[in-house]
């Protein structure tokens, strides 16, 4: 027996409300992240990820309250990402009840944040979130052909995505959330090539994200080297249930909870 492949639903949260459409019946309030967290927990999710897409600072306090209420009711690991700038932001989230924090843009601007955060809180709660895409035509080529993006994939940085993942591990990240901006939203499957490339250069866990459309898309992502698989829309819209993903992984002789 070995550690199970983790299946992780991700909720986009704006000012305390779930953003993307939700298609669950029997819910009192499908826009409430806490209620959604409970549903996913009951369905067998191995972890939960909240992505805070709130722009305003008042919304940040709302997020802490959401984290607090979730940690009060849901007893599986919770990762919170989005808008984290400082180690104090991380401290506030951990105290509210988050187990891990996802760092993205702030680490691109100032990579030392990863080192400072992992020293203060331990690598196990620092997830480096990498939004990557193929360098578009006319863009500055990178060694691997993939570059890190910001602003939801709209802005390229010219930073090589594979090298950045390796650097993130060196600086102290305990996990990589690898989000393919090319595959994201296509529901055409995970970017297997990119997962393989990142797996080859890091030995911390890799979460594959972006592109899940059918249950058949999940086993190849694990075979390509992902330790965990993350999806948002397909779960929220009820197109795929957590249990179905696990059944397919199990049929593929991969270990699941």
């Amino acid at each position: 027996m070995a550690v199970a492949v983790r299946v992780i639903p991700c909720l986009d949260v704006d000012a305390g409300r779930v953003v993307k459409g939700v298609n669950f019946t029997d819910l009192r309030d499908a826009g409430d992240p806490v209620e959604m967290a409970r549903v996913y927990d009951a369905e067998g999710a191995d972890e939960l990820t909240f992505l805070d897409v709130t722009a305003s600072s008042s919304g940040r306090d709302t997020m802490l309250d959401v984290v607090r209420r979730t940690a009060d009711q849901v007893f599986i690991p919770l990762t919170v990402g989005g808008g984290i700038r400082t180690t104090d932001d991380i401290d506030a989230l951990l105290r509210a009840g988050a187990d891990k924090t996802g760092i993205n843009t702030a680490a691109i601007a100032r990579p030392e944040l990863l080192a400072e955060a992992s020293r203060r809180f331990g690598s196990q709660c620092i997830v480096l979130s990498v939004d990557a895409r193929k360098v578009p035509e006319g863009g500055e080529p990178t060694p691997s052909g993939w570059e890190v993006t910001t602003h939801g994939g709209r802005r390229g940085t010219g930073i090589d995505a594979v090298e950045w993942a390796a650097r993130g591990q060196e600086l102290g990240a305990g996990e990589i959330l690898l989000n393919s901006m090319d595959a994201d939203g296509t529901q055409a499957g995970f970017d297997l090539e990119m997962i393989t490339a990142v797996r080859a250069v890091v030995d911390i866990p890799v979460i594959a994200s972006g592109g899940a459309g059918t249950v058949e898309h999940f086993p190849p992502a694990v075979r390509a080297g992902a330790d965990a698989v993350l999806a948002a829309s397909v779960f929220h819209f009820g197109l795929i249930r957590i249990g179905e993903v696990k059944a397919v992984l199990r049929d593929a002789r991969l270990e699941v909870r």
Binding site: V3, R6, D41, F75, A96, Q124, E175
Partner: protein, 211 residues
């Protein structure tokens, strides 16, 4: 209702431990107060992050002596994750050697595995007679997140002392996942993050160890 203190020595997410214990019926206080920690029916020692930092934090609140005093009186203590690791003799992380509480012999060191941290839900090999895992199926999974562990159990055998029950798990190699030793118990995994399975372990501890 059992009065439980979760020892607050500056380590990570304590809210989950507090809530998970409340969920199974404990009256929980999160504090570093020496008197409260000594007097509680059960003491929970959590811990995340670096061994050296946790041990320093524990010493700063006199936690190692509080544990010692409680055990001398047969009063239950439960270590979780790094809170388990610090109960052993020695921690070796990144070349730094840190003396632990020394309740059990053994060294906490980096696991040999392809992917670290060992992060996620894994199964256990539970010995017969276990109290913590009573009533749980053999393939029940618990949530782990750690890179270091106890790879060898080295307590000498005794003709007269009842041996501790050691539960093992596997990630790259075998490591100690839990120890049950009279009033002293510990888990490398996080029962407070292990859903219903974790709640069952905490319930067993409250009912049959804390009493």
């Amino acid at each position: 209702m059992s009065r439980i203190v979760v020892l607050d020595y500056g380590s990570g997410n304590l809210r989950s431990a507090e809530r998970a214990l409340q969920r199974v019926g404990a009256d929980v206080t999160v504090t570093a107060d020496r008197h409260a920690a000594l007097e509680a029916d059960g003491l929970v020692v959590p811990g995340v992050g670096a061994y050296a930092a946790c041990m320093a934090g524990l010493r700063a609140v006199d936690g190692h002596r509080i544990i010692e005093r409680r055990l001398a009186g047969g009063r239950p203590v439960l270590g979780i994750c790094v809170g388990m690791q610090v109960l052993f003799e020695l921690g070796v992380e990144w070349g730094e050697r840190t003396e632990g509480c020394g309740q059990w012999p053994g060294t906490v060191e980096k696991l040999k595995a392809d992917v670290l941290p060992h992060m996620g839900w894994n199964t256990l090999r539970v010995p017969t007679g276990s109290t913590l895992f009573a009533g749980l199926d053999a393939d029940t999974r618990f949530y782990f997140v750690h890179s270091f562990g106890v790879r060898h159990w080295t307590l000498e055998e005794s003709e007269v002392l009842r041996p501790p029950l050691v539960t093992w798990a596997h990630h790259g190699e075998d490591f100690v996942a839990a120890v049950e030793n009279g009033a002293l118990a510990a888990t490398q995994f996080h029962p407070e993050k292990s859903g219903d399975a974790g709640a069952a372990v905490l319930r067993n501890w409250l009912r049959d160890v804390v009493g």
